[in-house]
């Protein structure tokens, strides 16, 4: 799986359509099997109608008995029974392919999240990104399970059907063959017409479409201003306006399916009249003299089937549209990752760029070192920083807002590359570097308290856990709850105060020790008692680690043995000179 992911990221699809195609290619075996079974079902469909027409001819024209025609009856029965079986296989292959493709897309997105820095924009609206991962990928199902096989069948199945028609009567064959390319032509013309009407009303349609949701969104404001009665009427009015605008487009858009309907009907009608007149003897030219009830009836039955695959395709057309929209969004998402990747995980090689030269990992005994480190996004925020720390050190980082406290923390964590300088990061395992990061708002997962504590080290045993809990005075807090460690932490964190959440997050770090721990304002928004307990926990953690903590808290200054005080940021012009 991982290997495939890599080849995918290297090829970099340029457009949504290209991406869809490359995805379909990955499961081409299954998709082709689906098409194959679709074609097999077409073949038995042909044999079904041929045998029915043959039976009709034998019994009605030749006045033969039904008993004598058991082989044809048997063919009819077996064709009728085989067709749904083949169709089942067709659907099954396509649906399986679609599922595998969707899983693959999801793993691509997960991989993308992993290598893109948490400072990236899509991490700022996790809800939107999450629904992209869940719903948008799901919206691509129809494209692979329905549309893709059908677009093949829309070309291949009519070709299969036209063969017996040509054999039976070349004139009818020609009739169908000529009408075939006309259909897409008319459909394109209709489509263009609908699109221009659509464009004309674009803004109006968008506004009307969003009207209802907008009012629901602002319902509380509307209620506060006692404006709900006029708004109720307005909703009806606007929805009706929307209907009128949409109908303008639909009037033209539906012509597209009418074109198909028209061709099907006209084909049946003209084939029927031609065959009827020929059989009657009213038409005597061309191949009409060779017609019999068998060939005539067979052609009549096959004519609507000739157009059926195209009609099915037009039904699935909206699947293509929604898949394309989702695919375009994904391509845009992946594009971002090529621009900036997380230096820490060293995924930059995929870019073809040089491996990160700023980061060096070393043993915990060698400590943490900042050598002429210049931090900033595009411009340097500070003059070069130099700092050397040993295990057991706590360093506070402080300064006015905007001075680059978070920038420094993010640079240390590897989420942002420095503008210049070198960083030597201590870690227990140089090949699998780990740095603990504690954000201002503790990040808790949905699940029990225990799940949260052992998140990074599931192998911990209960006795060890109890000792640590005791050590940080959390045991009492947790024992107070009916379910103890199994107490569930709900989505909104209800039931746990900010201080308790922070201490659970700290406990998690104690369970999975790292040599470097980065903390962002761990005591902001905590009351005095909780703050004191958190500080005690930080001191315990520092016994075997280096702690870098951004803070305004004087109590933390007191336990820190190093202090980095950042100055107000350098202005941009001066900063860029510094880099040069």
């Amino acid at each position: 799986m991982v290997k495939r992911v890599k080849t995918q990221t290297n090829s970099r699809p340029a457009s949504g359509l290209e991406f869809l195609r490359s995805l379909a290619k990955q499961q081409s075996k299954k998709l082709r099997m689906s098409v194959l079974f679709g074609l097999l079902s077409t073949v038995v469909m042909i044999s079904q109608w041929l045998s029915l027409a043959y039976l009709a001819h034998q019994i009605i024209i030749q006045h033969q008995s039904l008993d004598k025609n058991w082989p044809a009856s048997l063919i009819l029965l077996s064709s009728v029974l085989l067709r749904p079986i083949f169709l089942k296989f067709k659907n099954n292959y396509a649906q399986t392919a679609s599922w595998l493709i969707r899983q693959h897309i999801r793993s691509l997105v997960l991989e993308h999240w992993k290598i893109s820095s948490p400072l990236m924009s899509h991490h700022h609206s996790p809800a939107a990104a999450a629904s992209q991962w869940v719903e948008e990928v799901e919206a691509m199902d129809g494209y692979f399970s329905q549309y893709w096989p059908q677009q093949m069948l829309a070309v291949l199945a009519p070709l299969l059907i036209i063969i017996p028609v040509f054999y039976l009567n070349w004139l009818c064959g020609m009739l169908l063959l000529i009408s075939a390319p006309l259909i897409p032509l008319f459909m394109i013309l209709v489509g263009l017409g609908a699109e221009s009407v659509n464009q004309k009303y674009f803004v109006m349609r968008q506004r009307l479409a969003g009207h209802f949701l907008d009012r629901v969104k602002h319902l509380s404001t509307i209620k506060l201003f006692n404006a709900h009665q006029p708004e109720i009427n307005d909703i009806k009015q606007k929805s009706d306006d929307y209907r009128k605008v949409i109908m303008q487009t639909l009037k033209i858009a539906f012509l597209s399916s009418t074109v198909l309907e028209f061709f099907t009907s006209v084909a049946i009608a003209s084939v029927a009249i031609y065959i009827g007149f020929s059989l009657f003897g009213a038409i005597t030219w061309g191949p009409s003299t060779e017609l019999s009830l068998f060939s005539g009836f067979a052609i009549l039955l096959l004519a609507p089937e000739f157009f059926q695959p195209l009609r099915n395709l037009s039904q699935f057309y909206h699947d293509r549209a929604s898949a394309l929209a989702a695919s375009n969004n994904l391509v845009n998402l992946f594009k971002i990752s090529y621009k900036s990747t997380n230096r820490l995980t060293g995924k930059t090689e995929e870019q073809g760029a040089v491996p990160p030269a700023y980061f060096h990992y070393q043993t915990p005994e060698q400590g943490l070192a900042l050598v002429d480190l210049v931090i900033g996004h595009q411009h340097a925020l500070q003059t070069p920083l130099n700092l050397t720390l040993q295990l057991g050190d706590i360093v506070s980082v402080s300064g006015p807002s905007g001075c680059g406290k978070s920038t420094l923390l993010n640079t240390l964590a590897g989420y942002l590359s420095p503008i210049n300088g070198q960083l030597f990061i201590p870690t227990f395992d140089v090949h699998r570097p780990q740095i603990a990061y504690l954000p201002q708002q503790a990040w808790l997962i949905q699940g029990s308290v225990l799940n949260n504590i052992v998140l990074f080290n599931p192998a911990i045993d209960e006795e060890e856990l109890n000792t640590v809990l005791q050590a940080v005075n959390l045991l009492e807090d947790i024992k107070q709850r009916d379910l103890g460690l199994s107490t569930e932490i709900s989505e909104d964190g209800l039931g746990f105060s900010g201080g308790q959440s922070q201490r659970i997050a700290l406990l998690r770090l104690m369970m999975a020790p790292t040599a470097l721990i980065i903390m962002d304002e761990p005591t902001a928004s905590l009351d005095t008692q909780n703050r004191q307990r958190v500080i005690e926990q930080i001191q315990k953690l520092a016994q075997n680690a280096i702690i870098v903590v951004a803070t305004h808290d004087h109590d933390i200054f007191n336990i820190a043995n190093h202090h980095v005080v950042l100055k107000a940021p350098l202005d941009a012009t001066k900063g860029s000179k510094n880099v040069g």
Binding site: P84, K217, L219, I232, A269, A272, L438, W443
Partner: protein, 576 residues
């Protein structure tokens, strides 16, 4: 399917049928005519070619037989045309119908939502909640498009063609109709059972997966530096894998039901065809009639093939119907009797202006951390000014929501929460009267997707232009508004003029100034507004504020405070 789900589906179905029965009938008739035209086209064509084949042979053999070939010819042309036109008309008509139905349902739903308390959908509904609401509303048209109309059309077609066949061979018609109805009922019940269970499961798992994905993304700062992404994304992949398993089961179930359905229908067709041929052999009727009967049956069966496809949406539809039922039915209606009884016993006092005194006390409120540390209580009189200072996360906004009646007072035994206005305790029945004399500027800027004019005059259509200009003057937006190409008619919101956070804030403030309530509750009124502008607006507001009761909530003591210290009115300060 639970009783509740069935009831809500019934509720919406009755609502839809009762809405415009005549139009629904016409739409169904159009669909029926289209379906019958298609079948008749094939039937007549088959009859025509077999009849002319027999006649042609007879003529060739020198026997004089009469067959009018022109009348069936025009019949064929007629059906070809009526099928095409019918299809177009039916699609257009029924789509129009569905869109007006949605317009109707939206209005109903909005009316229902208005009567619900804010707790049911939170203060500002999340985009996720909103998109679910839209999806649910869209699912409701399945009742019309996938359940009602197709079922009626399929049943009527079966009955009409059954009667037609009965004209030639009653016994055959009886068995055919019986078989078809039995097969379809069985298939539909299987599909309904399958989709009811699975739709619920898939929707649930997707929700769980979305929640886990959000958690995963929010945890990236923690996870990436620990190299723990793979560890955490396991839950996410497990959920999706489970979802895939359910979907696979659903797909397989549908495939098998469709297979069984098609096999049974196919066998029926073969049996009917052979019977018809046997009928010819026995001399019950002639050959062309046999073809006519066979093609009639082929036509119905083709129509009935889509029965599983129509009912596959059943589960999703009932699920949506259930959720919307809860929103659309206002709770007042349900407990009407109880309430009337209660009202008769203890009439609710409405709050009337002028306001003399507002009192609030909260303790141990889970969303107001400050009230957990120590109870919050204050009383203000008619023209008092109160400044509440509290850091973010202390529960200021929740306090504002409580005081404005936007958040329900929690019914927790540990939480105490009381608001008393003019010595009348505030509760659900008199909140409206309280809100009439209240102007609440919440932290979120509520800009409606509408014109600037509509945004300013929300709920006050009688406001004049001069007043609007005066209000815009106070918030220093008049020049800006006049500089807009369409001035007050400029469209705001996503598809219109983009506002900066400060502009949006000031428009919301102007809206409250136009309402001119006696009690003002302003939560960070100058968010996004720079300090000199804030000071100017404060200066402009001062005379207007003179006779008002004001509660101002800020995260720190505002800078403009000192600038306008010369103000005459005293300000109390409460720190939380």
């Amino acid at each position: 399917m639970s009783v509740k789900a069935r009831d809500s589906l019934k509720y919406w179905t009755i609502r839809i049928i009762g809405w415009q029965p005549k139009k629904l009938f016409l739409g169904t008739i159009l669909a029926l005519v289209t379906a019958l035209s298609g079948i008749a086209l094939l039937m007549l064509s088959g009859w025509f070619i077999s009849a002319s084949a027999i006649t042609g042979l007879a003529i060739a053999a020198g026997i004089m037989v009469k067959l009018d070939i022109y009348l069936p010819g025009s019949g064929i042309r007629f059906f070809a045309l009526s099928r095409t036109i019918g299809r177009y008309a039916e699609r257009l008509y029924n789509h129009n119908l569905v869109l007006s139905l949605i317009a109707h349902l939206r209005q109903q739903l909005f009316a229902g939502l208005v009567h619900r308390s804010n707790n049911d959908f939170k203060h500002t509904p999340s985009s996720e909640w909103l998109s679910k609401l839209t999806a649910d509303l869209d699912s409701l048209d399945n009742i019309l498009l996938n359940i009602l109309i197709p079922t009626v059309v399929a049943l009527s077609t079966t009955v009409i063609l059954g009667l037609f066949i009965a004209f030639f061979w009653p016994l055959l018609a009886f068995w055919l109709t019986l078989c078809l109805v039995f097969i379809c009922l069985m298939t539909a019940s299987f599909i309904i059972k399958l989709s009811s269970f699975n739709s619920y499961q898939t929707a649930h798992l997707l929700n769980v997966a979305r929640g886990q994905a959000i958690e995963h993304l929010q945890g990236q700062l923690v996870l990436q530096s620990m190299g723990a992404n793979d560890l955490h994304q396991r839950h996410l992949l497990d959920t999706i894998e489970q979802f895939g398993e359910i979907q696979r089961r659903l797909n397989h179930g549908v495939q098998n039901i469709q297979l069984m359905h098609s096999l049974l229908l196919g066998m029926t067709i073969v049996a009917l065809s052979l019977s018809a041929f046997w009928g010819v052999e026995q001399g019950f009727f002639d050959g062309p009639i046999a073809i006519l009967l066979i093609l009639a049956a082929v036509g119905i069966v083709e129509l009935l093939q889509s029965v599983p496809a129509h009912f596959i949406q059943w589960g999703k539809t009932t699920y949506a119907a259930e959720r919307l039922y809860l929103l659309a039915s206002s709770p007042q209606q349900k407990s009407n009797q109880v309430q009337q009884l209660a009202k008769a016993l203890l009439p609710t006092k409405q709050i009337t202006s002028p306001l003399h005194q507002v009192h609030l006390s909260v303790s141990n409120h889970p969303y107001i951390p400050a009230s957990v540390d120590e109870p919050i209580a204050f009383t203000i009189n008619s023209t008092d000014k109160l400044l509440i200072i509290g850091k973010s996360g202390r529960g200021k906004s929740t306090l504002g929501d409580l005081l404005s009646g936007q958040a329900d007072t929690l019914n927790l035994t540990t939480t105490h929460c009381e608001i008393v206005v003019n010595n009348i305790p505030l509760h659900t029945d008199n909140i409206k009267s309280w809100q009439q004399s209240l102007g609440y500027l919440s932290q979120q800027n509520a800009i409606l997707a509408d014109t600037l004019y509509a945004n300013l005059t929300l709920g006050q259509p009688e406001v004049g232009l001069a007043q609007i200009h005066a209000a815009l003057d106070i918030v220093e937006l008049r020049d800006w508004a006049l500089s807009l190409p369409k001035q007050l008619d400029t469209w705001l919101g996503d598809t219109g003029n983009k506002l900066s956070g400060g502009q949006a804030r000031r428009i919301c403030l102007a809206r409250i100034i136009l309402k001119s309530p006696q009690f003002l509750l302003l939560d960070e009124p100058f968010n996004g507004v720079d300090s000199s502008m804030a000071a100017r607006i404060w200066q402009n507001l001062t005379p207007w504020l003179q006779d008002k009761c004001l509660v101002l909530m800020m995260h720190e003591k505002p800078l403009f405070w000192t600038l306008s210290d010369k103000q005459q009115y005293p300000v109390n300060i409460l720190s939380i």
